[in-house]
Amino acid sequence: MLQSIVSYGLAVGAVYALIGITYNVMFSASRVFSFTAGMLGMLGGVLGALFINKLGMNAVLAFLLVLAAGAVLGVITEILTVRPVLKSIEQHLYVLSTLAFALMIQQVVAIYWGTEAQPFPVLVPIDPNSALSIIDQKIWLPVLACIVTIVGLELLYRRTLIGRAFLAIAEDSYAARALGLPETQLRIASYAIAGMIGVLAGFTGAQMLLAYFGNQAILNFYGFVPVALGGMGSNRGAVVGGLALGLFQQAANFLVGGIFASVAVFAVFIVVLLLRPEGLAGAAAARRV
């Protein structure tokens, strides 16, 4: 039983963490929290199932296409919903523009893909008797994706100049611009990366969560909880927060069961926000005047 809590908790938590990272990567580049994070997660599953099950592609090709689609959607998000409102005095417009875009995509999925959850294929053909199959791939795939993502981002940020440019823009976009860094292109690139991470979460988690349009709302909320817990912009915080959330949710499912698990998660979310709005590991608010 404990094993069940831990394995599923980590798997679901990894998906939440990846969505949290998706929020963060977009936030770092633009100071914008985008409602499209959950949408990307949902599309990772739906597009994967579409490419493999309906169009008969092989898993590798489908995976690459899904990643490409995520990148394109990220870029569209930036161009359509973020850039036009970045300069606006009204700080909250991005909430509305990204929400609107996410709802539009969700509705298109609901109409053309359907509102029923649909199956997602087994991705890695493994002999059921081999050692690898001791742990189900629907458990280790998202965990692996999370590890790959966090290591990849870490390498990007620490080992490449473009990665440092991302960090520079996140810390002080004005100074970065003064240095001649191409802020707009870097922001687009960030959104493309965020798009790929978002669909990666959905793609690897879909054997568990299925290809379901309703995952958008679930992932939007549960993917944001790690950001709130871990502090905005902090990817490590998102991973810790995501895994903690996954484990908590599974434990609550197991111990109290039913809907009370989600009520409990929500209560924790509210309490953390009220007591520590900057996140459990975040910094204090900036000057206002």
Binding site: M1, S4, I5, Y8, A11, V12, A110, I111, T115, E116, A117, Q118, P119, V122, M208, L209, L210, Y212, G214, I218, Q250, N253, F254, G257, G258, I259, A261, S262
Partner: protein, 397 residues
């Protein structure tokens, strides 16, 4: 243009009727279509049933109209997609009853919408026929013009309980559901029924259908000593996860429950085909293979569907049959009783043993639930062929 005496008489009869009702109706009134207000849920969550039923209904109306309609009047199906949204259903009811002056309402096909629509349709005094299972939808005192052409949830549960307790002879049962209205209500209704039949309900719970891991639930059932799992849900993902988890645990326990257990959606979500073994879902005797053959009425219907090239391999025979039966029942009512609401109700109150493809319908002035208990059976879910299933083992044929 010479006018025959007969035509004059007919014309004067019409004007007399028009005067009597205070409405100057045009002389062609008799050729106007008969309007059926139709409330399917064709989009939105839980619309797959609606899509299946819709095929049967459309087919039946087409056929009736092709054969000349009802005494020369075509049937016009005024369809309003409720999108599985009760507020849309409430708006649509006002439109269909008041605006379109529908002679009868067919639907809503989903309980959520039917719960909101039924009191309003009753208030507007329009006869109503629907296939929803929620018991409280039929109440001859509150809704004297409302008729059901399908079993009630109680009947459905009774059928499943009967199979577990009396046919499989299992005494320790786990009853679970998702958190939807249908699920929670079913559990709360069936558990006392099971206990009354002498079974021991060792485990009950309402489980969030989005929960990816049901192993804890099943482990708890197992340790409680359950000999059968009865899940009540229309959520294919949830049901398939129960089957998958049971299979992965190598727990050889029958799963007995609602029709969605046997849906293609559920099947598609199984990890291994054999996880569908020993899963029995509700079905209806008239639409099951018994000894490898469909009962005669259903067999004939399937022939007709094949001839008309109606796709039903992707849906279920009983859905299409139900849609057909509903439309045919209304056509027959119009044929025999005309389109006045009191006449319609009077006629329907006396329907007895009407041989539908889906069920044999009997109504009385006191009982508007028309489906017979004994036609609710269980079937083997892994036996799907041409939209129908084998009846579950153990029933006498």
């Amino acid at each position: 243009m010479p006018v025959s005496r007969r035509q004059v008489l007919a014309g004067s009869a019409v004007s007399a009727a028009a005067l009597a009702s205070g409405f100057p109706a045009p002389a062609i009134a008799q050729n106007e279509p008969i309007k059926i207000g139709y409330l399917p849920a064709l989009t939105g969550p839980s619309s797959s049933t609606g899509v299946g039923i819709n095929r049967g209904t459309q087919l039946a109306v087409e056929l009736v109209n092709k054969e000349g309609g009802i005494k020369g009047r075509k049937i016009e199906l005024i369809s309003r997609d409720t999108q599985s949204d009760p507020t849309k259903a409430v708006n649509a009811v006002a439109e269909l009853t008041q605006r379109a002056k529908a002679s009868m309402i067919w639907g809503p096909l989903n309980s959520g919408e039917a719960l909101a629509a039924t009191p309003l349709i009753a208030r507007d005094k329009v006869p109503m026929l629907h296939p929803c299972w929620v018991d409280s939808l039929i109440d001859v005192k509150k809704y004297p013009m409302s008729f059901r052409i399908a079993p009630t949830n109680t009947q459905v549960g009774k059928g499943a309980n009967h199979y577990v307790v009396n046919v499989l002879k299992l005494k320790k049962v786990a009853v679970i559901s998702d958190t939807t209205g249908y699920g929670t209500d079913s559990v709360n209704t069936y558990v006392p029924m099971l206990k009354a039949m002498g079974a021991e309900v060792v485990y009950t719970n309402h489980i969030d259908a989005a929960n990816p891991d049901l192993k804890p639930e099943l482990l708890r059932m197992q340790s409680a000593g359950a000999q059968a799992i009865m899940p009540w849900s229309v959520n294919a993902g949830f049901l398939s996860r129960i089957c998958n988890t049971r299979g992965a645990m190598n727990w050889d326990v029958p799963i007995v429950g609602q029709t969605t257990l046997g849906s293609g959606q559920t099947k598609a979500l199984l990890e291994k085909p054999e996880y569908w073994n020993k899963v029995y879902s509700n079905n209806f005797r008239n639409c099951c293979y018994i000894g490898g053959k469909l009962p005669p009425r259903a067999a004939e219907f399937v022939e007709r569907l094949k001839k008309d090239k109606v796709e039903f391999g992707d849906t279920l025979l009983w859905w299409v049959a139900l849609g057909w039966d509903g439309a045919m029942m209304m056509a027959e009512t119009f044929k025999n009783a005309g389109t006045k609401n009191d006449d319609i109700v009077a006629y329907m109150n006396k329907v007895k043993g009407w041989p539908g493809i889906y069920g044999t319908v009997t109504w009385t002035p006191e009982q508007h639930n028309g489906f017979p208990d004994q036609e609710v059976v269980m079937c083997e879910v892994n036996s799907l062929k041409d939209g129908a299933f084998n009846i579950a083992p153990g029933y006498s044929s």
